[in-house]
Symmetry: C2
Subunit: 451 residues, 2 copies
């Protein structure tokens, strides 16, 4: 049995409690009504991208697979549900035996998505699928929000590496998932040791202002750091006076000093001055790392500055203004009435229809990305029924779980590489930071619509 890959440095036996109570009460009511076994199709999608964003980035799929695999109701959990009278005895018996046995399809991790894209499709009985809603949405909404911000930052940074250092600005376990998503979105390293431990992401870090303040003066602090970490370390030069610190740093470490870090002030101005000073001191190979409240716009504004790497914290782990991806998990089709348990029963498309908004398109959907004559993405095409021949080899959904078994595990680097490729395949305006519409439209395909 695999352990739940929750980004924890320890194994967790179950993900079943990361669930809203109503999933269980719906199950109970459906069991009693005899409808819990109806074959059902749920899709995860977002009705819109965050305001002004040009594309979304799917992240968390690997964590979803682990969560589904470990979704079990152990005796402690069952006792809790019984003692709190959350569900009845029949439902508890059903839960004790629970194991997802259906199929899951989805966009592969790192892929881009647009409004309506069915980034995950969960198929099985109503009972077994409805239980997974909360944990699937938690993971995809969080991880995709971070990956989208990371992607914008990494395209703004170009070839310069990005360091994820936001652990202190978000929940301690969200931080681990955020480092993972940042890596998918193009970041190179993380400060978070748990992310290094759990996901093998390269970790970095040297010192903070506290280390300088611990010592009687900057020279003593720099000497202590260089003695211990070597001359190729990164010295933090903005505790007192930056110019004096840079001079001291090169005196202590020599011109082979690895890097200096600037964590405050007018980074554009200071980076230019520090570069000039380092060069004059012969430290031409010493890099400059900047780390002060950066977001994708600040990174872009430093493109012409002599900066070698960016460290990003708060704005990364909070999704740069959009901390959640607003994905929903909706029943889009179910077996015809009276056909419960019959896998061959025809599926009926279903959708909420009230006038108050939040409507969606029913039916089990395929998705394909149509390319223009130059091979760039031109439209996200969604449809029910047969896939038109022209789009057959552009389909986006791959099978992730088959009969309850995970069939599509992959290393995190695969998702990272896929994201780079998928983004490069979008129209050029995708990576403009300015606000705009989704960079390609979402089209619903109908017989004869010509796609």
């Amino acid at each position: 049995m695999h352990t739940a890959d929750l980004g924890l440095p320890v194994d967790v036996p179950s993900t079943a409690l990361f669930t809203d109570q109503y999933e269980l009460t719906m199950l109970q009511a459906a069991l009693r009504a005899g409808t819990a076994g109806r074959r059902s199709v749920f899709e995860v999608f977002t009705r819109r991208l965050p305001d002004g964003r040009r594309y979304g980035v799917l992240a968390g799929t690997g964590r979803v697979l682990d969560a589904v695999e470990n979704f079990r109701f152990d005796p402690d959990v069952l006792r809790f549900l019984r003692e709190r009278h959350i569900v009845d005895a029949e439902t508890l018996d059903w839960l004790a035996q629970y194991r997802f046995s259906g199929d899951i399809w989805g966009y592969p991790e790192g892929e881009v998505y647009f409004p309506g894209s069915p980034v995950l499709r969960v198929e099985g009985t109503f009972g077994e699928c409805v239980l997974l809603e909360t944990v699937i949405l938690s993971i995809l909404n969080h991880d995709s929000a971070i990956a989208a911000a990371a992607s914008r930052m990494s395209s703004a940074a170009g070839d310069r590496p990005l360091i994820e250092m936001g652990a202190r600005r978000t929940h301690e376990l969200a931080a681990v998932a955020a480092a993972r998503s940042a890596y998918v979105g193009g970041f190179a390293t993380t400060s978070d040791l748990a992310a290094g431990f759990r996901y093998n992401i390269p970790t970095v870090g040297t010192s903070a202002h506290a280390f300088t303040l611990l010592h009687d003066n900057e020279r003593e602090a720099f000497r202590a750091q260089v003695d211990s970490l070597g001359a190729d370390t990164t010295l933090l030069v903005d505790t007192y006076d930056v110019a004096e610190a840079v001079r001291t740093a090169v005196e202590v470490a020599g011109p082979g000093l690895g890097a200096v870090r600037i964590d405050s002030g007018d980074l554009l101005l200071v980076a230019h001055r520090v570069r000039q000073q380092l060069d004059e001191l012969g430290a031409t190979g010493t890099r400059i790392v900047v780390t002060s409240d950066l977001d994708e716009y600040a990174i872009a504004s430093l493109a012409a500055a002599p900066v070698d790497a960016y460290g990003v914290g708060t704005q990364l782990v909070t999704g740069s203004g959009h901390p959640t991806a607003s994905m929903v998990y909706k029943l889009v089709a179910r077996a015809e009435s009276g056909a419960a348990g019959d896998d061959a029963a025809p599926l009926v498309p279903v959708a909420k229809k009230s006038s108050g908004g939040k409507t969606s398109v029913g039916g089990r959907k395929w998705a394909a990305r149509r390319l223009d004559s130059e091979g760039h993405a031109e439209a996200e095409v969604l449809g029910t029924g047969p896939v038109p021949a022209s789009l057959a080899d552009r389909q986006l959904l791959v099978q992730l779980v088959k009969g309850g078994e995970v069939v599509a595990r992959e290393p995190l680097d695969a998702a990272r590489d896929r994201h780079t490729a998928a983004r490069a395949n979008l129209p050029l305006s995708a990576t403009q930071l300015s606000r705009g519409e989704p960079v390609i439209p979402t089209e619903y395909w109908h017989e004869g619509s010509g796609s």
Copy 2:
């Protein structure tokens, strides 16, 4: 040994990896320089409140105490640090023996805070204190951001209960901590079963649109739900036509129907119509629950509507525009040079001094809340040195950890009650939702400043 209270449904042996790498490399360099044993004082504070907010709400203190108590480097973690060459052998030996043995003082959980308030003060050797930075900030920054949003929502809701239902919009474990913080900030219940399991917060939930769509029509769905969950359940009435759904709901459940839930549309208008219809149908005791993308402003705008409870998701778990509290953990004082290991050595105040912003006030601080003649809070007064007699009984810091032992555990309800009392003691304008300055000023006390 206590287990780490991470909001997990299972026990976690250690929190030591929820740490930025530089905490460990600073330790290594300080060990080598002979400065790791210098007595040090770190304080957690925020330089400013989120833009426009009138007060902050401290939450997460209880989780911090558990994290500190369980901050250990077990063999798996040490092996990881060794194999990745993150620290040297001497440091690994030191870490293997690590156990925080210092003192922690702080504002009690649920208390309000203002710019500069030293909401936590950690004292011990530099080495033992610096390691705790990341996990302490992760917890307080996340939990306090959620609690602040919860507090604004609960004051907007008045006596009407608030349901926390944001699990699906945030990381699955952040969700558990968010439910905990929401409870501290005044929410009554949560949808998140893990939060019920871990923190004994009352859980609620009945059904979603998927349950209605699973059935051939609304009547069948409502009947199935009432048959299983009883007439005092909450029926969701906005899948198709609201007026028809309300009629069907009362027909199926009878006038004793517990509640109806409205999850879309113009809530003000719809709530009035539904109330009138329910009353005409004799269901005068049936409550109305609304749950569509609410924040504190939407809640306030429904004050005159016949609404009985609010369910809040996205805006709660994302801090209603401010998903992190921007607290920092700063060395503010340390033993005089040459006095390493000597507990009696005088402390030297220290602070970053560069011109680029991010400066702070050095020195080990006390904090007190001065009251006006009517007993309302008038100023947050901070100082170093002796506490003036006039403020002696208004001090805010309490001892949480003494010689490494937690001395101030309390039930979550204590934090919740404290928050209600602390907020009520602020000037009335604190609970205005409009943007403004902190509702009381922060003053730094100097001998003769008259406080």
